[in-house]
């Protein structure tokens, strides 16, 4: 068996949730499916299945995809067989909110193992914020008062931080790495990390200035490397930002 391509696109922030009128990141994910009318299922769990969020998803994807959503707060009204529904998708799109609540609810409903199955079957997993953090081994969550280290699904063996550059996340990420957190990646709002298997293959951005970083511990220091980023708004290669290394 050649095996399906296992893919995750992890947004630091952005897409329809945060960049109304800028469809670049969402279009990028839809483009990866290679089908003109992909099936995209939205999981708004991390927001508590907020109605306004579900409506915004449909408004954004109505004309671009065969869109659906799964609500875990109102299961009696949703799709009867969540597993077969999710396995039939081209993209599973996870919204932002609380990653701790998200993981708790998914585990309670067995969604974590269904998502693993979907991932291995080649369904593209994407999301922003909590919907990015969830795919990694560990998340740097800034959701509560302090910035916490949260064990997540571990489909990717790295750590992850989102909305990077925001508040104390950078300092907290560095601290956690020195405490033994696995090496990982941070993305700013508007930047997205595309993984095939465990490997980061590309960083794309919906804003020319958005960046992503690779972070790893070297002795008593953290090496933070700014990653080459392709701005999705222009075709010319001038927009590739050269790789710069800086010790922090």
């Amino acid at each position: 068996m050649t095996g399906a391509l296992r893919q995750v696109v992890a947004f630091g922030g952005g897409g329809f949730s945060q960049e109304s009128g800028n469809p670049l990141l969402d279009d990028y994910v839809l483009g990866l499916t290679g089908t003109p009318n992909p099936r995209v299922c939205f999981l708004p769990t991390a927001s508590g299945d907020a109605d306004h969020y579900v409506v915004r998803f449909y408004n954004a994807f109505r004309n671009r995809a065969r869109s659906s959503h799964v609500s875990l707060f109102r299961r009696e009204r949703g799709v009867p067989d969540i597993r077969s529904h999710l396995l039939a998708q081209d993209v599973i799109y996870v919204g932002g909110g609380s990653v701790i609540s998200l993981l708790g609810v998914w585990r309670a409903h067995g969604i974590d193992s269904i998502l693993r199955e979907a991932y291995e079957a080649g369904v593209i997993l994407c999301g922003l914020s909590a919907g990015s953090l969830c795919w990694f081994a560990e998340a740097v969550s800034g959701y509560q008062d302090e910035v916490n280290r949260v064990p997540a699904l571990g489909f990717l063996p790295h750590s992850n931080a989102v909305h990077y550059g925001d508040g104390d996340r950078r300092g907290a990420f560095h601290g956690h790495l020195l405490d033994g957190m696995p090496a990982g990646f941070a993305a700013e709002d508007g930047a997205a990390l595309r993984f095939v298997g465990d490997e980061l293959v590309e960083v794309v951005a919906s804003r020319p200035e958005a960046r992503a970083y690779k972070l790893e511990r070297r002795g008593n220091q953290v090496l933070e490397t700014r990653l080459a980023t392709r701005y999705l708004g222009a075709e010319t290669p001038d927009n590739v930002v050269p790789l710069v290394r800086q010790a922090a």
Partner: protein, 273 residues
Amino acid sequence: MTARRRLLALGGHDFDRRAGNDAITDLIVELAESPRPKVCLLPTASGDPEDQIARFRRAISDRDAVPHVISLFRLGENPVDLREELLNQDVIYAGGGSMVNLIAIWRAHGLDEILRECWREGILIVGQSAGAMCWFQGGITSSQGDPAVAGGFGVLPGSICVHYLSEPVRRRSFLRAIASGELEPGLGLEDQTGALFEDAELAEAISAREGAAVWEVTPEGAGGREVELESRQLEDSRPPINGTRADILELRQTLATRASRRRASRRRPGRLD
């Protein structure tokens, strides 16, 4: 002195003006036994919807009490020390929704332990629907679609089934689960009724809607035995918005009397019915 541990489990309640709901909201504020009590809503089980929060704030403010809301889904926008915040309340009200999600989320945030501490410290715990069942050994949830048994935190022994009689499928699952021993014996709570526990003992059953009752359910043979408990009747202080007006009730009564007279006059002698 140890604090009195009190928990009010409600079979169905909302902070709106439907019959019985106002009276229950009055009772909650009264049970706080404090001037301008602080009442905190945890709307976790339904995903913290804005409309529920707005109704709660209005209803509590109207009663000279201080509303407070902890939204676990929006802690990023409004970070708080959960333990400190909750221990500072007079009443904590857990809203309804998905019992499975409620339990999973509270456990993930460590809130179950904090709330148990609040209960031990004498803060009145109130819960409706999923927010009522979660404190007990178990209940019947429709969180996964069809009604099914779900385990609770077990702060109190016994089981609870909410929306009793208004959701017959839920009641049937409850009776089956009690008969089979899957759930401990417990209470069936109809909408707008409640059971007040002091420590692990049922102190009082209340009903705020005419005809609505609290049922004690125990196993009996292959089924469950339901006994209606005597309830303290609560009166709405204001006319409910879905209440039936007195003149309409009178008209209904007149029509029913006339119809029964007609039936009686048509009845042939000797017929059994």
